[in-house]
Symmetry: C2
Subunit: 522 residues, 2 copies
């Protein structure tokens, strides 16, 4: 073997001094760079598909994406990679767990082994079934008829079961699915977190909803031309801590963020011309994702670590910007004057406090993506419970719409008038995303923990935000979250940050404080 | 081997009946589909780079493009492909030359063998040197100092010589370079065509230039806001024969067209706010390219034949739309009213004939991309002569700027005041495009031949165009040019169309007729 044994040691400065990496490590990096390039190329094609592509592009694009995915998968499961990982094991054992090199080998091994367990044929079949079911879902939603989707969803679930069987050491059929989105997360841990969240949120949401009718958010409704909303969104982004040369803002049916390198991130938002808050907060939400993407250490670019840790951690960053910061009074102290300048007819007579209450109005509603901060998690919890029951076999698909309705009645006290406003409201199950929903709540919970530590570190944060100075905030997030990329699981990251496990209490404390501030609830 | 021997035969309808293709042919198609997908993915990334990408994206994008190019090259030179081509030789021999299957095998073999001759290291070195020289060119042009580019250009030419040596059966060092852009084209043939062009064009351009001062094109100069020009360009494109769902129009520093499938073509144009003709004719030019791309037979998609035949044939299509159609009186009979409606202050008092003469004004100028129809080829001829002399060794790079000036004086009777308006005016040599320039003239020549046949077929073409009816025109171009994709070389295509070789006379006849119509020259 062409590498020298690494030496564990301390440099004179007291920090860890990495040994000269062996040739196999250099080879690993080059292999990973190619995988990452393929992933980024795929991301460019997807971004184009969602923001730019004329309708005629769809069939060709599906082929191109499938080919790139196939090549990426080939490289991830390749014997070359397996050989490198074997060769690097002794080197890895000489290194601290949190060094770039050990993390690179550990995370690559994890992803290689997971990819290897699943036969390519099954992956292709899952992709095809997801694509067919997605079309069926559109039709089903149009007709508001779950029956149209039912056979396709049956196929999806059947394939998910076969997928789960590839992980024969899993404790529960739900766990391998969860692990795809939130590495290292167990069902026991999920139950603990979602359970605690539910115990606190259900009564809190009920109590607030009873008082929220007094909030007047009519100023957010009216005529807001898309082009003017876009100018406002750009103007906000230019004041937020991201270089103008490193991003662009586009429009898409569903807001999203994606990145092609640390210095090329793309934000896509949506403009409802009759409701201003939609684009404001989806832009802030996606900005939070984009800032995380762009904050990963440059040393980790083009590698297995050059991406965010998990969907949960990713969502924590979007939620911090959308809610913790974006729905705070200091934030609008800085930005509200330009909202007034942009739409003087709507906001000339609306003062800052009124606007701040309006963007924080709580309202139990049927649609998750329109839900406020207090009721949002209830939507997630009900999906999580239903999908777990489906996989366990205790709920059959034919009974899903009724189960949905019952759960909505129980948690939100609302009647679901139709499948399109119920079980068919979003595409995620149809596209095969089981085990995905809880990451939204993990994001909120993790955001609560990060926010609490962050506020202790930056004691005058409110003043900074009110001045439009986000520089310390960005540095803090970069230092404690962003720069690590995929090095740590969400649990490891939180452990490093707070010295304990992922925990709902800070998030609940944040919500309670807000409930008190806005609604006088104690 | 897993395939049945194909049978040559006639169907009852008298046409060729393809034998059932052997398994190796199916395998070949699937191999080629992957290569094509990689090429299209690379095209999406390049398009994004030139139209959308924020500046921060540059370093990452270079890596992503290099990786895709590397993977594409690997597949093109692969032993698997060589084996398939060997296995398919007996099958190929049973098939007519112009069948899809025989053409697929023939063209793939050609591209495989050419790719195999050049070591990957040399390709990488050429790409790197081109990228460095491109940056040096920008600096050199800014300083208008050829010395800044000289060492980099020296490196480029040295690498070109090494490249040429890979083709040890080539008759002349220029030929393998030419062949990259115009498959099958020889130096003898190029000399014949360029020589004949020069003999006719130099005196014609001189004679016209003496009369052209009487043409008033001041209406084309003024203030034309980019957004309004864009609306006009979109409105024109919507009347041209391409489905609205199959294209989009964007902006870039250098106009171009690219395609990601037959039903997803992208046109990029440029708006000079002080000169209207720039965007009008570059949009028409790029539309001509885009229409060709989108007209390739669907049966050839995702294969070695799913692209246009050569740069020359490609350019013939852009020139037909830009000049033969786009600078004709019938075309503006249809479109000029909307130019007047869009810019009433500029064109309210300018009649159709005046406008038509203005967009056809001939003017000897220093910059190729601004040249009119009559002087354009002189720019191409001088570059072709200079680059051939460089490769032959009869012109040294240090003498290039002076040689350029002398040639411009001789062909265009102009003095070149600076390198930036002379040898440094475009990037193509710096990026390594030697053997590329003649394809512009091939395009004009081929366009002349196609146009003559086309007009004989569609006798009332002028009326159709004046009515804005381009449907028969599109069908004719599709049937005789577009649908064949890369099946035939330019010479083969012309042979099929006119029963003879590529020939300059029709193009010269077209120019002379136009000179007579516009300037009374006989």
């Amino acid at each position: 073997m062409g590498w020298r044994r690494g030496r564990k040691g301390k440099s004179r400065q007291g920090g860890y001094r990495a040994a000269i990496p062996p040739a196999a490590y250099i080879e690993l990096r080059s292999h990973l760079a190619q995988i990452d390039d393929l992933g980024r190329a795929r991301a460019v094609l997807s971004w184009d598909e969602r923001t730019m592509m004329p309708p005629g592009g769809a069939p060709g694009r599906a082929e191109q994406l499938a080919t790139l995915s196939g090549l990426l998968h080939e490289r991830l499961v390749s014997d070359d990679l397996a050989r490198l990982l074997d060769q690097l094991r002794p080197y890895e054992e000489t290194l601290p767990y949190d060094s770039d090199e050990a993390s690179m080998i550990r995370i690559t091994r994890r992803e290689h082994q997971r990819a290897q367990r699943v036969p390519s044929e099954l992956k292709v079949e899952m992709a095809r079934a997801g694509s067919i079911a997605e079309h069926a879902w559109k039709e089903a939603r149009k007709q508001s008829d779950f029956e149209v989707l039912l056979p396709h969803l049956g196929k999806i679930v059947e394939l998910k079961r076969r997928y789960v069987e590839c992980f024969d050491d899993a404790g529960h059929p739900y766990e391998p699915l969860l692990d795809d989105f939130e590495p290292g997360m167990t069902l026991v841990e999920t139950e603990r977190l979602i359970g605690a969240l539910k115990t606190s949120i259900v009564p809190l949401a009920t109590a607030i909803a009873e008082r929220a009718d007094t909030v007047d958010d009519s100023c957010l409704h009216g005529r807001f031309p898309a082009a003017t909303q876009r100018s406002l969104a750009i103007s906000m982004l230019c004041d937020l801590p991201i270089e103008a040369d490193f991003f662009r803002l586009d429009e898409s049916a569903h807001p999203f963020a994606t990145s092609f390198s640390n210095t090329d991130v793309r934000i896509a938002t949506r403009y409802s011309e009759d409701y201003l808050a939609g684009s404001l907060f989806s832009t802030l939400h996606e900005f939070g994702h984009a800032l995380y993407d762009s904050g990963v250490s440059a040393a980790l670019e083009r590698s297995a670590l050059g991406r965010p840790a998990s969907l949960g951690v990713h969502e924590s960053q979007s939620r911090i910007w959308e809610n913790f910061i974006g729905r705070s009074l200091p934030f609008w102290q800085h930005f509200y004057p330009r909202v007034q300048d942009t739409f003087p007819d709507h906001f000339g007579g609306v003062d800052l406090e009124h606007f701040h209450r309006a963007v924080n109005k709580v309202q139990r509603s049927l649609i998750r993506t329109e839900a406020d901060e207090f009721t949002y998690n209830l939507h997630v919890i009900l999906r999580y419970e239903l999908e777990r029951e489906i996989l366990e076999g205790s709920l059959t698909l034919v009974d899903l719409p009724e189960a949905w309705k019952a759960r909505v009645k129980s948690y939100l006290d609302l009647d679901v008038p139709s499948d399109s406003q119920g079980v068919l409201q979003d595409v995620h199950w149809a596209e095969g995303a089981f085990g995905y929903f809880p990451t939204y709540s993990f994001g909120n919970i993790i955001a609560g923990q990060i926010w609490e530590v962050l506020r202790r570190s930056l004691v005058d944060l409110d003043d900074q935000i009110a001045r439009g100075d986000f520089s310390q905030l960005r540095e803090w997030l970069r230092e404690h979250v962003h720069r690590h990329g995929r090095k740590f699981t969400s649990a490891e990251m939180i452990q490093r940050l707070v010295g304990g496990p992922i925990d709902v209490d800070p998030y609940i404390r944040y919500l309670r404080a807000k409930a008190e501030e806005l609604y006088g609830l104690s």
